[in-house]
Symmetry: D2
Subunit: 353 residues, 4 copies
Amino acid sequence: MIVILEPNVTETQIQNVVDRIQAVGLSAHLSRGTYRTIVGIIGDEEKIQFEPLLALPGVSEVIPVLPPYKLASREAHPRGSIVEVAGVKIGGDHLALIAGPCAVENEDQMHRIAQAVKQAGAHILRGGAFKPRTSPYAFQGLEEEGLKILRAAGDAQHMPVVTEVTDPRCVGLVDEYADMLQVGARNMQNFVLLKEVGKVQKPVLLKRGMSATVTDLLMSAEYILSQGNSRVVLCERGVRGFDTKIARNLFDVATVAAVKQLSHLPIIVDPSHATGQPALVPHCALAGVAAGADGVHIEVHDRPEEAKSDGAQALLPLQFAALVTQIRQLAELFGKTLTPTEESNRATTPDCR
Amino acid sequence: MIVILEPNVTETQIQNVVDRIQAVGLSAHLSRGTYRTIVGIIGDEEKIQFEPLLALPGVSEVIPVLPPYKLASREAHPRGSIVEVAGVKIGGDHLALIAGPCAVENEDQMHRIAQAVKQAGAHILRGGAFKPRTSPYAFQGLEEEGLKILRAAGDAQHMPVVTEVTDPRCVGLVDEYADMLQVGARNMQNFVLLKEVGKVQKPVLLKRGMSATVTDLLMSAEYILSQGNSRVVLCERGVRGFDTKIARNLFDVATVAAVKQLSHLPIIVDPSHATGQPALVPHCALAGVAAGADGVHIEVHDRPEEAKSDGAQALLPLQFAALVTQIRQLAELFGKTLTPTEESNRATTPDCR
Amino acid sequence: MIVILEPNVTETQIQNVVDRIQAVGLSAHLSRGTYRTIVGIIGDEEKIQFEPLLALPGVSEVIPVLPPYKLASREAHPRGSIVEVAGVKIGGDHLALIAGPCAVENEDQMHRIAQAVKQAGAHILRGGAFKPRTSPYAFQGLEEEGLKILRAAGDAQHMPVVTEVTDPRCVGLVDEYADMLQVGARNMQNFVLLKEVGKVQKPVLLKRGMSATVTDLLMSAEYILSQGNSRVVLCERGVRGFDTKIARNLFDVATVAAVKQLSHLPIIVDPSHATGQPALVPHCALAGVAAGADGVHIEVHDRPEEAKSDGAQALLPLQFAALVTQIRQLAELFGKTLTPTEESNRATTPDCR
Amino acid sequence: MIVILEPNVTETQIQNVVDRIQAVGLSAHLSRGTYRTIVGIIGDEEKIQFEPLLALPGVSEVIPVLPPYKLASREAHPRGSIVEVAGVKIGGDHLALIAGPCAVENEDQMHRIAQAVKQAGAHILRGGAFKPRTSPYAFQGLEEEGLKILRAAGDAQHMPVVTEVTDPRCVGLVDEYADMLQVGARNMQNFVLLKEVGKVQKPVLLKRGMSATVTDLLMSAEYILSQGNSRVVLCERGVRGFDTKIARNLFDVATVAAVKQLSHLPIIVDPSHATGQPALVPHCALAGVAAGADGVHIEVHDRPEEAKSDGAQALLPLQFAALVTQIRQLAELFGKTLTPTEESNRATTPDCR
């Protein structure tokens, strides 16, 4: 940690900063420049990480040299982690495809779509039972009924299932039905929820908040990891942008590459929520894979005009199948494996509840 | 609601859109332009608000003409609402000052600061017992112990208290101690929490999320209102900006004025979190009042270098007192009342638990 | 300047950095921490400011401790500058009001509006003769004819005039007619134009670009100052925001306060362009003054529905007059003078061409 | 164009809007809804495009149904345009690689780097002779001397050259030396410059401004096209983002796909300026190609630590060569041709000055 002092700092103030550093058992190393004096802190930076040095008189800036996340950092685990979701691997050389409708609407819809995405090559089935909707008057999801339908559809297709959990009181319930728990973008800094999903034994899909920096995202992962759950998969799904005529959010593909360098955790992309425009989804999906993503998350609906939520952003099954073909070719180019559907069936069956 | 069709829409597609509108009991009015055909929907727009018209083939854009919030809209309550917090009025001609430390640290700290802000003219005491910290390793708050200390400090100064609630399971607990419940920026779209605070009988301070539009903010208020709790106070506290060297967030003062026009709910400003810079806090506080805010929320600490959270952004009690003097003059200019300290004491005592 | 080295930096790389620093006549001061080694540079930082230290192997970050602007910095001129525009002072205790239509349309329009804003209390008349329009098909301004009309309208009302210059080849022409040259937001980093307006003897109104940081803005001012023209007035007019339903841009009032601290140059606000919404303009104007702005720039049109440019964002003369009354009261509260119209007439006449 | 009226609009106001529309020879079609009345305009929308309908009393919103750009729109030219730069094709099935140093520094540097990028497979050589630097004290470029050096280096390698023009007075000079003129991000809305480059017979590389929407970008292209120069190539190079710790700008890959749908103009990506981080450049380059970009623009320097500008973001020649190999494979997958170096030599020689 480096402390930059104010131009007009007094000797007493400098001494005060040094005393404060020494009080926690660290050494301070002064460097008096022509314009500014700086203090280097020598020793275990963590000891002072949460000391309010910045509020000391005479202090202008405090610059940490270590990232604030530890368990999530690449240093903690130099080889990238591979997270397994009921037999489906995400990370390393394994590129995973997660697909399904925005919301679980009914049994028939879920089975139809599950079959379609399975056939197209998807590995994990998604579907929302608890929907965090902007409006209190919008469809809020089928709740436990939805979880049951999702589970049944996944089982019928031999696919693991992922679904969002929004309430710390429902983590146990969702855990009963799902193979992977999703924390949505709006809850990325719902630390209470993060702690709860950190206590279960299932992998967690953590979506990046709309205004979250990479540090924010990795700190939220750190919340889950620090509770003992090491199976976190990150997801880039667009940040707030100023050109909402083009896309709902701004798909930040550089962050995928940056996260791969800073962290060992797998990261996938969700171009459906990132753009909200079916015409842009395939292009962004491919861009994400080319940038190094470990998977792709796509919303698929066979009757989007009947969808109860986000129908307009879903791909049709045929469009999804065409995209999978392209993703497969791209994956091969980058030395990644996209498990063929048939083998995937056999492989995942025994694990699959 | 207006539906703009694609340039190359077919007659069958047009008929399909019209049928869909009529199916929910509304009328469709076609207008065929030179380049585009548009469909005006006549009747109760709400019937179709969540129908996925946008996903119908041939539809290019759907433009609602009504705001999606109802209870929060100015139309619902043409005179601005006044929210009372244990005798302290916020809204109308009443400008309220909320002040206190970021976190409740201990009894002595809380009593010292409560006394200081009370003396300076603050009406409501703030202090966090449940702290939503970016890092799992940072101080997370004293929890119930903190609530007790805050309550005692408020009582000693005859001030109502406001504190943040982060967990739907703790709403009841916080309700026992606090006069006003705060929902923080990171939880603005934690709809589960919003529903819970919508069920209590206490006023709620709802802070704007860092990437929330005004519609998002008012929809979150609508969640609370729709549960039966009509006492919501909004708070502008800065959005994500690109110049973080200057201020932590971008203080959006135009939103204060816009919210006053679109909604009847009071809105206050929090320049402490908006800027994170004590040198900018007074300027932004005054700007907020000049733009029409119904109150100001300021972090105050008498020993910022000892603060366990956000010490570097707090004003010293003397700085706060100087600011209150300026706010009082400004309030008078705008015909608003900033209740004098002494009277406020007497007024609030009987209400105060 | 502080150079933070990579965790795995080699001794040879460290020596290379030190050599490089010493090669330009500066001293290097090493501080070896537990995790990182840092190099403090002692001596005249400017000597190395544009050396690509960051590209040296082993260098992780380079942190300047001096701002990159010198002439524009508060240190260069601890007392705030007062810029005089043909007798009208901007800065210090002088709050200036600049008003007029977006574009000069014709003689009659310009004279009517000039009279109206003069009567309401404006000090400087604005009007565009060269319009930087987003569309090549939109009205591009009356050019020299417009300058003549503006000059005549200003003279008739004894008001100095400000108008935008967009072409380095037209700086001389605009200089012939105007008392102050405006560089628009879209040209804030048109460095060729900045250099040209730096060579004239007239004050320059430099508007902040839509994505300019405060450093960017002050560096653009530095371009003008470094050419010998010390009379620069800055203008905050909104940055790109994500909620364009509420306002065209995001009015950044904290920047006004920050600029007053970092620079000696006066800064005014332009709520007309910042919001694009007449209903928000007065609130943001007052917020700007409360935050410390040295003036306000407002678009006024008496027949907005006939305006050839930006009619929908202009205030009517009556609305402007009401706002001036409020600004005057606010200015007094902050110990600032808003020269009474009558005196202003007399004072500016002799200077006025 | 659709005009949405205010809820409380009067009949006189409605008539006024209708009169205004009819006055320019168009028809108005009223649709009275339950909450709002809307007016559809029938006829040639352009006639009224810049009429300030929005400023008419009773008008709430004006929604155009045609894009404001015409020559740049996909409708104007349903097959994508191919722009030829001295024999090198950009667009259609042709993927072009532009590479070179940020600035032309001297003959030796330019020849070394030209040879290196040519050998690696680049088609067009870049190098700045007029540098738009944020600081007036930074290296501003070698000007005409730089143009000569660039030209000679291009000729020696049989490569066309592209260089930035920043001053409308220098367009002729740059035209003498370069095969393609670049308008930089900071000048994207320097309409005076756009008009000048619209008058020359050379292709133009138009970079997106940091806060430009897609509409803004295409309108700037329209300025050039409307002057008679149809050879415009667009370039995505990142927009302002909030996470500047990760990347200098936010690389907006969805915009590449969106522009391909809205416009016939080729669009390339510049990951060097978009990220400013060599470690992210290859990932973003590949993402851009996967999203459909017609070319890639990369800064390359063989001695970045000696570079006079932006050295820290350049790739080394070896890194660039490795990237070209990956781009070539990716291009093939998408059915695009990346002309082999040898053939390209032969092909471009005769065209090349």
